[in-house]
Amino acid sequence: MFVRKNQAALFLSALATFAMPNFSFADQAQAIDTGSTCWMLISTALVLLMIPGLAMFYGGLVRTKNVLGTMMHSFVCLAVIGVLWVVCGYALTFGSSILGGFVGWNPDYFFLKGIDDRITNGIPEYIIAMFQGKFAIITPALISGALAERVYFRGYIMFVALWFLLVYCPLCHWIWSPDGWLFKMGVIDLAGGLVIHVSAGVSALTVALFLGARKGYPKMIAQPNNLVMTLMGAGLLWVGWFGFNAGSTLSSGLDTARALTMTQISAASGALTWLVIEAIAFRKATALGFASGILAGLVAITPAAAVVKPLGALALGAFSSVICYYALKVKMILKYDDTLDCFGIHGVGSGMGVLVLSFFIRESWMVKTSETVGYTWTAWDQLFVQLKGMGATILLSVVMTLGICYLVQKTLGFRINEEAEVLGLDQALHGERGYDFT
């Protein structure tokens, strides 16, 4: 339970609500809280649902000839990271610090050997490990939005594997592991504003710049092959996000309800805001804009869901859509090809959330923290902490991602050859066609 919230926050919520798991046995270490366990089981399923959701969201936005290849960019993470996580991922992230705290390690976590009957806070550790694993799976998949329609599949697989080991694992350890240095510093990041979205967004931008634009971009007009599927995907992502954020409280209590509530509010607020912006700009309201607004709201609230209140959630969702909308405008000026706007939405929107949440924190939380630190803790103090976290995240992401890009390009090859790009990934790399309606 300590994994995802800094201790002050946790402590407080406990005080406020007695929300300790209700054990049925004296021996707490062993007792199961069937309710919290159930919520972690289902949260794991909900985050899993986000992978097809993301594949549909991204897959609908590319040209028909690349639809399968783009969906596979999301799906393949289920296999590659899914296996790596069991082998060493959980150990590297949630083991105790090694290499001066760069990553963690715990022999018991190697192949999940030693947790077969371990129970923590009433929840079997297996399910915690699986839940955390889903986050490791979806993060590299997010990046695929930036390199869509122009990479070798083999190169992509090598990229996500290395990125997981060299960016995700360290970052996750720093921010979510009880002995991570950013965790100890008190960085607030409930469900991965930094660990997931800023890291993915910044890396996405790096990859996009490294690879260069697709043939014909930006003259080539966008031809989303299936906006209908993109809308479906946005719907599934919203549903899955409830598990993503509310599951991150690792319990089924008041904080969980708060996290789900703020997630719902911010997503609605983000979607509404984007709608209004487009209505003003074009006197039209696009489905893609609406879906983008949903995402903007969701990524913005991700770090903040357990500390802000409804007004804060409304504000974060709205801000996020405004800032993301203009980030996309800037992209069109700078003409870099972040194809599906992973940076423009996940990086920018969630980055904003990570910082701005400082000004919407529940009073009681601030009071509590002040007690802990022994002086009046202000939003500015928190903002400073958040800024440090963001700095570290950006630095790690950019440096490592660049290195990996060069390595992949030199070895398996990353950027696809022109002929295959023209032909399309589906035919050239997968030997299939997405649709055959004849």
Partner: protein, 112 residues
């Protein structure tokens, strides 16, 4: 015999079909095509960017008729497909040497 290719606005198809039926033309072949011409394509929006789609959806009607029916057919198509707006389309007439009905082997106008 002549082949008439009529490129029309999609939602006019039923009207044209009925009109041709009335003058006794009971067979035709249609296909979905895209047209480029004076009529400008519509605007689409993609994440804050607006761009024009050059090609406009049209329906192409191919109908082979006996020489004496050509003018009547053209007249009928013109009337039924006309909206007076740019993009109503074109009618092209081309010669046909022979027609065969696959089922029976009939040739010439009897095959229509």
């Amino acid at each position: 015999m002549k082949k008439i290719d009529a490129i029309i606005k999609p939602y006019k198809l039923d009207d044209v079909k009925d009109a041709l039926n009335e003058i006794g033309i009971k067979g035709m072949t249609i296909s979905e095509v895209k047209g480029y011409g004076r009529q400008k394509g519509h605007k689409e929006i993609y994440r804050g960017a607006e761009y024009v789609v050059d090609f406009v959806p049209k329906i192409k009607i191919e109908v082979v008729v006996s020489a004496d029916m050509v003018d009547k057919a053209i007249e009928v198509i013109r009337r039924s497909a006309n909206t007076g707006k740019i993009g109503d389309g074109k009618i092209f007439v081309t010669p046909v040497d022979m027609a065969v009905r696959i089922r029976t082997g009939e040739q010439g106008e009897g095959a229509l």
